[in-house]
């Protein structure tokens, strides 16, 4: 599993700054910090060969001619000459001609790139939710380092990144989750079982938002940043007619064996507990679906209920099920929790982290049932609401007051001195699951138990010879070979430290490495 985060971006001093140019500055500023550390060009082209953004999991292919241009994520973004000049101006060393980069593959196995008008960090693949928290947080640190670099570069206006999902005017941008699922599980079953789960999991992992409606039509507060931007139950799009279940079938893996479930409905979380439970509980539900053990409390009108649940911080709204029952979002979550607990118990209790996810999930639902405000140390929307409420009480503000909108926005400001989440965390008002040291290590180190290890180590060990990469390939350009050497990594659970560490340690050059990989006694990377 893994996450993708699109960050909100502005240059506060420059009213008409072009968002794509600012995003490109972020990528290039981070590349510059890497160059400084490694003494090498760290830019790596993205290998688009295996991208398939128009493949639909329901079994068909959308035609390019009817797709929204933003759906064509298999084409690299392009800057005009004028924009290139804006990104490049005032570079650290004028004597050095450095190409403007739109994409980086990082030594920790992640991808940092310009996604239209936002910088996006896609975390490396990991096998458990605690690692999700670590490598997702590592992306925030990457963003912080890029911001600091830009601020320190003469000629550049400071850029600020926000880990949120809407500008509260009309635009929403996503933070996606990805899960590897066996292709043998019918997609229809996945969709049916997940819709009620996604409609209700926002009680634990909503990031909170001031204002109601996709155009911020009404004053108020809601649980989720994203809920108001969803219009469909199931569909391929991610930028228009957003669906609760996205059907993009781009496995980035052995396609016959796996599908990648691409989840677009979540909020970007700063709270580590929200993030941990978001991925942890969703994976538990996926394994229930795989084993056909999931309860399906079918919701009569999922899109409407998604918004109704989001608009009710008391958590008392009653969702109507197709069987006529009316239940709260917490009730629905408890149905899933019970099913997950029985399944795990039946299998002998599961591993320690599974037990921890279940225990925290149960405890959090209990807290939310007692009094949602008691979950302020765990849940972003509650933490944010508590601050907003304190301001409302002290200064008698109504929900239309711009100061409340500013607090909403600044909760997600990535600058540690300015971001309200960071101020709360520094006061020990937010529960942490990973240490700062662990996060900083994850900025450079890949996870050891997936192919991200292979990708990250290739980038770090052979930065000159690796000229392209993607989730499922690494491309080497070797001095002795006329053709590029493309190594496929289609099996996400191979390429681990256990399988390849010795190979890295025993190869002095990229040539030797590729030779041993392709012909040596070591296990081949190819599936």
């Amino acid at each position: 599993m893994g996450t993708e985060t699109e960050y909100g971006i502005i240059a506060p001093g420059v009213a008409d700054a072009n968002a794509t140019v600012l995003s490109t500055q972020v990528v290039n500023a981070y590349a510059a910090t890497l160059r400084e550390g490694l003494g090498n060009l760290a830019g790596t082209r993205w290998d688009y060969t295996d991208e398939a953004p128009l493949s639909d999991a329901r079994g068909w292919q959308m035609s390019r001619s009817v797709a929204d241009s933003s759906q064509l994520t298999d084409e690299p973004a392009v800057l005009t000459a004028e924009q290139v000049a804006l990104v490049d101006q005032g570079g650290s060393d004028p004597s050095e001609e450095v190409a403007v980069l739109m994409n980086l593959v990082l030594g920790n196995g992640a991808r940092l790139y310009v996604d239209h008008a936002h910088p996006e960090y896609s975390s490396p693949e990991v096998t458990n939710p605690l690692d999700v928290v670590r490598w997702d947080r590592a992306g925030d640190v990457v963003g912080q380092r890029a911001m600091a670099r830009i601020a320190a570069t003469p000629g550049f206006a400071p850029v600020v990144l926000y880990k949120n999902n809407t500008d509260s005017k009309s635009v929403s941008y996503g933070s996606h989750e990805n899960y590897l699922v066996p292709r043998s599980v019918p997609f229809g079953r996945i969709a049916a079982a997940l819709i009620p789960f996604f409609v209700t999991r926002q009680v634990m992992c909503g990031a909170g938002r001031v204002g109601l409606g996709s155009l911020n039509q009404q004053p108020g507060f809601q649980l989720s940043q994203r809920a108001d931007f969803f219009e469909n139950e199931v569909g391929l799009e991610t930028t228009v007619r957003r669906p609760i279940i996205n059907t993009r079938d781009e496995p980035h893996a052995v396609a016959e064996k796996y599908r990648r479930l691409h989840v677009i409905i979540g909020d970007a979380n700063l709270s580590e507990v929200s993030n941990y439970l978001k991925l942890g509980t969703t994976s538990l539900i996926l394994s229930l679906i795989e084993n056909e053990l999931v309860p399906i409390p079918e919701i009569a009108e999922p899109v409407r209920e998604l918004q109704a649940v989001s608009h009710d911080p008391s958590l008392r709204h009653l969702v109507t099920l197709t069987d006529g029952r009316r239940v709260t979002a917490l009730d629905v979550q408890e149905m899933y929790l019970e099913a997950a607990r029985s399944a795990v118990d039946a299998q002998g209790g599961g591993d320690a982290q599974t037990a921890d996810v279940l225990a925290r999930w149960e405890s959090l639902l209990g807290t939310l049932r007692r009094d949602p405000m008691e979950a302020a140390r765990q849940v972003d929307w509650v933490a944010k609401l508590k601050v907003l409420q304190a301001y409302r009480d002290r200064d008698s503000l109504d929900w239309k007051d711009p100061r409340l909108a500013l607090i909403d926005l600044q909760y997600a400001d990535l600058r540690p001195d300015k971001g309200i989440y960071y101020r709360l965390a520094a006061r020990n008002a937010m529960e942490r699951l990973v240490s700062d040291d662990d996060v900083v290590a994850a900025v450079t180190d890949p996870p050891t138990d997936t192919r991200a290890y292979f990708r990250g180590r290739c980038i770090s060990s052979f930065p000159k010879e690796v000229v392209g990469a993607s989730w499922d390939s690494i491309i080497f350009e070797l001095p002795s070979q006329r053709r590029l050497q493309r190594i496929q990594t289609r099996e996400p659970l191979r390429g681990t430290a256990a399988l390849t560490e010795a190979l890295f340690a025993g190869s002095r050059t990229a040539e030797e490495f590729v030779l041993r990989l392709q012909g040596g006694p070591e296990p081949s990377m190819a599936p």
Binding site: E6, A148, R394, I420, A425, A426
Partner: protein
């Protein structure tokens, strides 16, 4: 590289959980709020006042994003 050092290193949250969780008001305790809790909130708002961008209205209006996923 003036980058990472300002990250809050704060306290070790896990070790201090027990000691610092804000005391839950007893049910029905109503207005008889613990004064330390009120102070904590005042102190927090003072801190946030100190970091909030000036001119909220203009700042919020200026936060405009282009299309996203």
């Amino acid at each position: 590289m003036a980058t990472q050092d300002q990250r809050n290193t704060g306290s070790r949250p896990e070790e201090q959980d027990e000691a610092t969780v804000d005391p839950a008001p007893a049910p029905g305790a109503g207005q008889s709020q613990d004064s330390s809790q009120t102070e904590g909130v005042d102190d927090l708002l003072d801190e946030i006042d100190g970091v909030l961008e000036s001119n909220a209205e203009e700042f919020v209006r200026g936060f405009v994003q282009k299309g996203g996923q």
